[in-house]
Subunit: 346 residues, 4 copies
Amino acid sequence: MIHFDTDYMEGAHPQVMEQLMKTNLVQTPGYGCDEYSKRAKELLIARCGLDNKAKVFFLVGGTQTNATVIDGLLSHHEGVLAATTAHINVHESGAIEASGHKVLTLPSHHGKVKTEEVEEYISSFYADETYEHMVVPGMLYISQPTEYGTLYSKEEMTELHRICKKANIPLYMDGARLAYALGSPENEVSLEEIAHLCDVFYVGGTKCGLLFGEAVVVPQGETTLPHFFPLVKQHGALLAKGRLQGVQFETLFRNQLYEEIGVHAVRLALKLKEAFVNRGYQLHIDSFTNQQFVVLPNEIMDRLGEEASFEIWGARGVKETIVRFVTSWATKEEDVDRLIELLPTR
Amino acid sequence: MIHFDTDYMEGAHPQVMEQLMKTNLVQTPGYGCDEYSKRAKELLIARCGLDNKAKVFFLVGGTQTNATVIDGLLSHHEGVLAATTAHINVHESGAIEASGHKVLTLPSHHGKVKTEEVEEYISSFYADETYEHMVVPGMLYISQPTEYGTLYSKEEMTELHRICKKANIPLYMDGARLAYALGSPENEVSLEEIAHLCDVFYVGGTKCGLLFGEAVVVPQGETTLPHFFPLVKQHGALLAKGRLQGVQFETLFRNQLYEEIGVHAVRLALKLKEAFVNRGYQLHIDSFTNQQFVVLPNEIMDRLGEEASFEIWGARGVKETIVRFVTSWATKEEDVDRLIELLPTR
Amino acid sequence: MIHFDTDYMEGAHPQVMEQLMKTNLVQTPGYGCDEYSKRAKELLIARCGLDNKAKVFFLVGGTQTNATVIDGLLSHHEGVLAATTAHINVHESGAIEASGHKVLTLPSHHGKVKTEEVEEYISSFYADETYEHMVVPGMLYISQPTEYGTLYSKEEMTELHRICKKANIPLYMDGARLAYALGSPENEVSLEEIAHLCDVFYVGGTKCGLLFGEAVVVPQGETTLPHFFPLVKQHGALLAKGRLQGVQFETLFRNQLYEEIGVHAVRLALKLKEAFVNRGYQLHIDSFTNQQFVVLPNEIMDRLGEEASFEIWGARGVKETIVRFVTSWATKEEDVDRLIELLPTR
Amino acid sequence: MIHFDTDYMEGAHPQVMEQLMKTNLVQTPGYGCDEYSKRAKELLIARCGLDNKAKVFFLVGGTQTNATVIDGLLSHHEGVLAATTAHINVHESGAIEASGHKVLTLPSHHGKVKTEEVEEYISSFYADETYEHMVVPGMLYISQPTEYGTLYSKEEMTELHRICKKANIPLYMDGARLAYALGSPENEVSLEEIAHLCDVFYVGGTKCGLLFGEAVVVPQGETTLPHFFPLVKQHGALLAKGRLQGVQFETLFRNQLYEEIGVHAVRLALKLKEAFVNRGYQLHIDSFTNQQFVVLPNEIMDRLGEEASFEIWGARGVKETIVRFVTSWATKEEDVDRLIELLPTR
């Protein structure tokens, strides 16, 4: 059986595990006040081209990170703008609302929000005479790559940045799979650029080589997110052994491991995509990152399912079904080749 | 100046005020443990054709009532299904989310949800392999009449009841303007029928003749909403002088006042609607209740606005604008006639 | 039967009712955007000696007001300091916590916090090495008079003001029964002084002559409580017919009605207290306002209970019980005299 | 420098790390649906002497676990009884309140609640005439060992169980350091007994040999905690790579590792305690587990601090200070011996 279900089917990248082993018995203070965390934060800030105003916080998982950051950015009367397909709107069991905030939805264009629609939402909002009875758009949430593997172009990112500045609301990027955006040949926005266009973003570790861990980067530090430490604790997102994220992120960013992980996974995903297209399958979405969404006739899907695992996207269709194939740092080229072999030409 | 902005521009119906005056110096215990409240609840339960299992709770306003009832009905992991245009989704400043619950939106058909779409949402939800990461549809919210003045037919109500029973979730009706549904010639669903089709609903007082006050009716009482009293208190919805709602609702339901209020307002609204149609205006929605939505050319709207007040629905358009005219128990026929007089034929 | 249970056993002061009747059919816009509300706010601001930076918000009830103000003043990681006996800590069904905030308790000295203990709490807090894992004291809640009828002296108020300024946290006063503090011969702190010592306070209407309604005064306006209007709506505390509080508060403050109400009730309460003392009863607390707390032998309590009603404070004791007697604007002197007559000398 | 600050200064027990390494590249489904998690749960259920009704959930950290379990157990109007010194009341940054629930405090007796005081609280609560305005005691939180290293006896546990059953509220035990209770020579309550006396408890991993991870055990499964999985997700406590806790807990419970860890740490802690006593120091608390609390003259504390690290408990005192020394699975006997050597006799 070969597996393409998700990008979190293994433990951590061997270099990361090695470093966890090596440092295992070193004694450090808890809650991220250790040297590993300090160095990892410095590395990340430097890689983002930021100065010492910037702050980095290590959290554990994605849903938790989104809920905590959004709770920190929003005032009581504000909500978060996001595409209807956004992870925070669909797959987080209501974590945002459980913290008291509404997700204000915009149409999803293959996972992306359209810049004009963001701008229009905000201006219509304030044009409505009853707006004081409505939830104020208090921030914008985007993901790069999106939940559908699509990417914001540099022009789009610059435009979203401008719109948010004009509306005086923060722009937040969910980077759960950021390595797989940065590793895409179609990617136009570098980590440095992200750090200058977003008010807050996170560099995802869980899906990009770590056991777990997400690094929240706040370029303007406490100006943007004051008193964030106690909020992290309150959200149950503060790891006692904070050094674990320190050690792991230091490994990712000391050399080019983070970049290599992205490039590897995307290359294999695009190889797979090419095979699907060549064999006559319809792509559900034209993704240039590590997630590929294909429409499979149910019969073929079932046969394939005997030798490979993957995720049904939504519910099984009557005749054909949307299926997701995911690669990661851990995907072996031979498994991709084997999957391609199994694919009948339509 | 004549006013058609809303149905809460005056104080209370004169009979209600008279009763408040008459009882003003009577001493009663607080928090609704008084004889007026007791009698008002009995009257309402009888009028609904319910037995002594039923409970009635008096709250103060609509947003508060929705937030408290929904908080009471939902478990932590559940959300409330509602039309995108539902009051709880648009005009309650995020009160539902502030209590920790997500509003799960369904397409709005002139304010109504479509029965098939409700059923489809629920079955798709459970067909999705990842549903345990998503907010469970834990109840259905509807309003009668809707925020757009439209009405659910008996068939639709029966169907919604069936779907909710099948899914084992409560059906909740927001009756902020219920008198104006019951008073409509197009209405098919009586108060008794509502009480047998809904798990919880409220009979709105604020917009139907009272100073304030909403009566939450729970046909199966504590089976449906256990420990609701402390929740009402927690939501800040428990009035110290609870007798005030008792006195007011007793007046509404002792005779036929509630019914008369509805009939009066709807008759005048339909008179106005007929005039709009006859003069060639486009209805935004074909409403049979006390709210009428018309598309007015901006020029005409502005001229009319010099002698009459009404509400712009959403934002002002470029050339024409959707405008809402509302009647109530207090609307005078002469004001309606004067408004009609002012309307140029197109 | 004569009643001393609470100060909310009747409707509203006759002058208030008269005004509600007189204005009943006047048409106004909703949600407090009416002329009555505007004038009432101006009157209150003038009476407090404040300038046009000040803002006044009308809410409906006390628990609601506390929950909304505290939610507005606190950031996510902060809690509210209060005496263990504070209304917000005991009798609000967890409304503060339901909004996500912890009540940080200080010892109660007959309902009051001790200035030194407030200061000590704050300095100990920041001296604790683990304070970033603890809830930050983000504001101070006091009530005047307290839930036990006691009063803060001018010196105490000045000191609390100084401590809060130093700690950079707002001082909030719950004035549910403020009229009965201002009307006490022992009171040292005028409404003007309160307005200059507190960051937010409310002038209670429900217990001081109105049907309902609490006026939140914010001397520094939006600097202290930005975006408070949508929060009021979100908490279900925005009355559709906001003019009702406008009309009522205008009546209270147009002349000296508010002052007269306080003086009347306190005079009768002190007459009652004197009788208790003269007849040999032990005061549970030496109150100079409209609530009197007396220790009654159960036998006497039960006998008294046949002709008069009052509230057991907490639970019935084995041999004797603490009992509360409350007067109000509506208390008749003859009822007080009758109660005194019924009291056996011990 | 030798370290006694906390029991989470290292990574994981070498056997745990070894197992994580060995399984690192095995591919598994996410979110705990893997074979390691399944086996670990079975082992734990068997060790607790429970049947297949029991459920185990793996979460990440202690604060998160408490917040999620308490949120799952309480209804909206209920609060959690706990000692004033309870972790949930002091050191969780308001996580319980952020989920909407009040902590109802009982006096702390060296970290423990007194059985009579629990019973008295509950009976007084319902004897109070105004109890419907107060937060209902909806569950009892205890910790074993407590935050002060003390232990509940078998008699006390049996009594707490009885009181909770009688009041029909669940008894929840925080077992963050449970191994160090079970490993104490003074311990009277076995894991099996805990599993039969508590409604929910957790077996802490973070402080007892794992990188992270807490195992929530629910003896009666869904009867006690229905729909807990989505709540775990909502609280951001669901790890994508759930297998990590599976692998770790399987290692702890496959053999006797969990027991050995406890015995080792407690033996060294008691050796240290004996030395303190023998040298004339005052114990702040007589603890029989891995945390020792001693009163040190500031001069001695400062000198000791040059060669050893430990935690100041609360704030530094004027002349002497309460200090905490903690041992763990990782503490070396030579470090304890060295610390003892450094201690001057008083």
